[in-house]
C-alpha cells in the first residue's frame, strides 16, 4: 500500500495535524469529546452543526447500525449560541465549527458567534432530514452561494459541505466556489429509509434519515471525482472512509484530506489506527497522488 510522508497539512485554509478530520455531528457536541478525538489522532475536528436556536432533535430512534453503515436522523440537536462555552475550552486547537441556518442571514449570525474562536467554518447545507435547513437549501445553487458569501464576511476560511441528493452535485460545488468557499466537503449522508417489518413503521422517528458509512463510499468517491473535474478549490472527501486505503482512494479521486464519521462506531480509536497505516517516514508526498486518478 501507498504511505504518505508526514508533512504539515494545510487544507482549505485550515492547518491540520494530518489529513484526517472528524466529521460533523460525530462526538462533536462537547469540548471534551472533541479533545478526545484530537488526542486520539484526528488532524482536526468539525463540531456538531450549530444553528440559530437550540434544538432537541427528532424523536427516537435517531440512529440504527446497518451491516455496512449507519442511518441517522438526529435532527440537528445543538445548544446554539451557548456552544461558545464549549469552544473556549478548545482554543488553539484545529477546530472547524459546523454551522447551519435557514437563510444567509442566519448563517451570518451564527458564524458571528464563533468568528473569534473557530479556525474555520463548515457550512452544513446538506443534512437530508431537517426541514427548512440543510439539504432543503443546499439543493439550490443560488442560496448556497449567498450563504457562503454571508459567512465569508467574517473573513474566516469557509468549507461548504454538499449533499449527494441532487441531480448534479457540480452545480452546487461551483456555487460554493463562486460564493468564496475555501473548500468543498463531499459528501453528507444519502437520503434513506429502513422499515421495521415487526413494527410496520419506518425505524427512524423522523421516518427519513441519512445513510453513511461504508455503503456510501463509492458514491462519495464519485462525487469527489466529479467535483475535482468541475471546481478548482480544494475538496475534502467524506463518506464511508474507514481505513488508510480508503484515504488514498479519496485522495486519488481529488481530495486533499478526508473527514471520518461513522467508522467511529466500529473503532473509537480509528484516527490513531489509520495514522499508523497511512504515514511512514519514507512515504510519498500527498501532492503526488491528489487527483492522480484523473490521468
Amino acid at each position: 500500500m501507498i504511505t504518505l510522508s508526514p508533512e504539515p497539512v494545510m487544507m482549505g485554509g485550515v492547518s491540520a495535524r494530518n489529513h484526517l478530520v472528524l466529521a460533523a455531528g460525530v462526538l462533536g457536541t462537547c469540548a471534551s469529546s472533541l479533545s478526545r478525538m484530537l488526542r486520539s489522532g484526528a488532524g482536526a475536528v468539525v463540531t456538531k452543526s450549530i444553528g440559530p436556536e437550540p434544538r432537541f432533535g427528532h424523536p427516537g430512534p435517531c440512529l440504527v447500525v446497518l451491516e455496512d453503515g449507519l442511518m441517522n436522523a438526529m435532527g440537528l440537536p445543538n445548544p446554539s449560541k451557548q456552544f461558545q462555552d464549549e469552544l473556549s475550552a478548545l482554543s488553539g486547537e484545529p477546530v472547524i465549527v459546523s454551522i447551519f441556518g435557514g437563510n444567509p442571514e442566519q448563517f451570518h449570525e451564527v458564524a458571528g458567534w464563533f468568528a473569534d474562536k473557530a479556525q474555520a467554518f463548515e457550512l452544513n447545507v446538506s443534512c437530508p432530514h431537517a426541514s427548512g435547513f440543510g439539504a432543503q437549501i443546499g439543493t439550490n445553487p443560488d442560496i448556497v452561494k449567498a450563504c457562503t458569501e454571508a459567512v465569508k464576511e467574517w473573513k474566516k476560511p469557509a468549507w461548504v459541505k454538499l449533499t449527494p441528493n441532487v441531480t448534479d452535485i457540480t452545480s452546487i460545488g461551483k456555487a460554493a466556489e463562486e460564493g468564496g468557499a475555501d473548500a468543498i466537503v463531499a459528501i453528507n449522508t444519502v437520503r434513506a429509509m429502513r422499515i421495521s417489518t415487526g413494527m410496520r413503521r419506518p425505524v427512524l422517528g423522523n421516518k427519513y434519515g441519512g445513510l453513511s458509512g461504508k455503503a456510501i463510499f463509492p458514491i462519495a468517491v464519485r462525487c469527489v471525482y466529479e467535483l475535482y473535474e468541475a471546481c478548482s478549490i480544494p475538496i475534502i472527501g467524506c463518506g464511508g472512509v474507514s481505513c488508510a486505503e480508503d484515504v488514498i482512494e479519496m485522495m486519488m479521486a481529488g481530495a486533499q484530506g478526508v473527514e471520518i464519521g461513522s467508522a467511529i462506531v466500529r473503532d473509537p480509536d480509528i484516527f490513531s489506527h489509520i495514522c499508523k497505516d497511512l504515514y511512514a517516514p519514507d512515504g510519498i508526498s500527498p501532492r503526488e497522488i491528489v487527483g492522480c486518478a484523473h490521468g
Binding site: P61, V65, Q82
Partner: protein, 268 residues
C-alpha cells in the same frame, strides 16, 4: 475446493435487520410501586449485568433502559415515553436495540447500593450473584422496589428519606454500618446526587478502586457516535465506554455537578 476471488461472504442473502430494532411482544406487566412498572417481553436478550437497551415506543421516542431481567425492563414514569410504556398491555409491541455498553465486573463479596429506580439495573446482581449485601434507598416505603424478592436472595438493608421503612435518611447513610473492607466489588446505581454522595463516602474510606457506578446521561444513538451522552472531562461516552464506570475515573468528573440535555446544553 472452489476458490472464488469475489466471494462477498456472509453479507448477502441474510436479513439485514441486525442493527435495526428487534420487535418484541409484551407478555406481562407488573406494577412494582406507584411510579414503577416492569414490562416483560417474549424474548430474552443475552447480556451482561449492567448493559442497557434502547427501547422504541413507536410514535413517541426511543429511550435507554437497563434490562432488569433478560426479558424485561423496569420503568419509572417521568415523561412521555415512560408514561406510554407503563400503560402498555400484553400483546403490544416494542422495538429493542442492543444490548449496548459494557457491564459490571462482578466477583467475590458484593455490595450493591441503589437509589430509587436505580434498583432495577442492579436487580440481576442481587438475584444472580452468590454473596450480595444490598443497600436500597427510596423516598418512602411505597417506592422501594424488588424489596421482597431481593430479601429472599440476599442481605437487604433499607433507607427511606421519610423514615417510613428502615434507616431514616439517605442510602449513603447506611454505609456507616458497613465494613467496606469485607467487600470485593461495590456497585452503585441511582440519581446523580445520590451517586456523588456515595462516591464521596467511598473516597473518604479508600474504597473507590473496587467501586463501579452505573451512569445515566441523555442518549440518542446508544453506540458511541452521536456524542449526546459524553461526559466531562474525558469525553467518554456513557453509552459505549460505560454505562459502568469505576469510581476512580469519576472522581473529577461532572457527576453530581451537571449533565447535558438533548440539545447539549448543560443542566444542573
Amino acid at each position: 475446493m472452489l476458490l472464488m476471488g469475489y466471494l462477498p461472504g456472509k453479507l448477502w442473502g441474510v436479513p439485514m435487520a441486525e442493527g435495526l430494532p428487534v420487535t418484541v411482544t409484551i407478555t406481562k406487566v407488573v406494577k412494582e410501586s406507584p411510579g414503577v412498572t416492569t414490562v416483560f417481553f417474549d424474548r430474552e436478550f443475552e447480556s451482561c449485568i449492567g448493559q442497557f437497551v434502547m427501547v422504541w415506543v413507536e410514535g413517541t421516542d426511543e429511550i435507554p433502559m437497563a434490562l432488569s431481567y433478560k426479558n424485561a425492563i423496569t420503568i419509572q414514569r417521568v415523561g412521555d415515553a415512560t408514561t406510554r410504556l407503563v400503560a402498555m398491555k400484553p400483546g403490544e409491541k416494542l422495538g429493542i436495540r442492543g444490548p449496548f455498553g459494557n457491564g459490571f465486573r462482578l466477583h467475590g463479596k458484593i455490595l450493591a447500593i441503589s437509589g430509587g429506580a436505580g434498583t432495577a439495573p442492579l436487580l440481576r446482581v442481587g438475584l444472580e450473584c452468590p454473596d450480595v449485601t444490598f443497600l436500597m434507598g427510596a423516598r418512602t416505603a411505597d417506592e422501594l422496589i424488588f424489596h421482597k424478592m431481593l430479601t429472599e436472595k440476599c442481605d437487604v438493608r433499607v433507607a427511606t428519606d421519610d423514615g417510613s421503612a428502615g434507616f431514616h435518611g439517605y442510602v449513603a447513610g447506611l454505609l456507616d454500618e458497613i465494613s467496606l473492607d469485607e467487600y470485593d466489588t461495590i456497585v452503585v446505581c441511582g440519581p446523580d446526587p445520590m451517586m456523588r454522595s456515595v462516591l464521596s463516602v467511598l473516597q473518604k474510606r479508600s474504597s473507590l478502586e473496587k467501586s463501579q457506578f452505573s451512569m445515566h446521561r441523555y442518549m440518542k444513538c446508544g453506540v458511541g457516535v452521536c456524542g449526546s451522552c459524553c461526559m466531562d472531562p474525558d469525553g467518554l461516552c456513557v453509552c459505549r465506554d460505560g454505562p459502568i464506570f469505576s469510581g476512580l475515573s469519576l472522581q473529577n468528573s461532572e457527576l453530581g455537578k451537571y449533565h447535558r440535555n438533548a440539545a447539549g446544553l448543560k443542566e444542573k
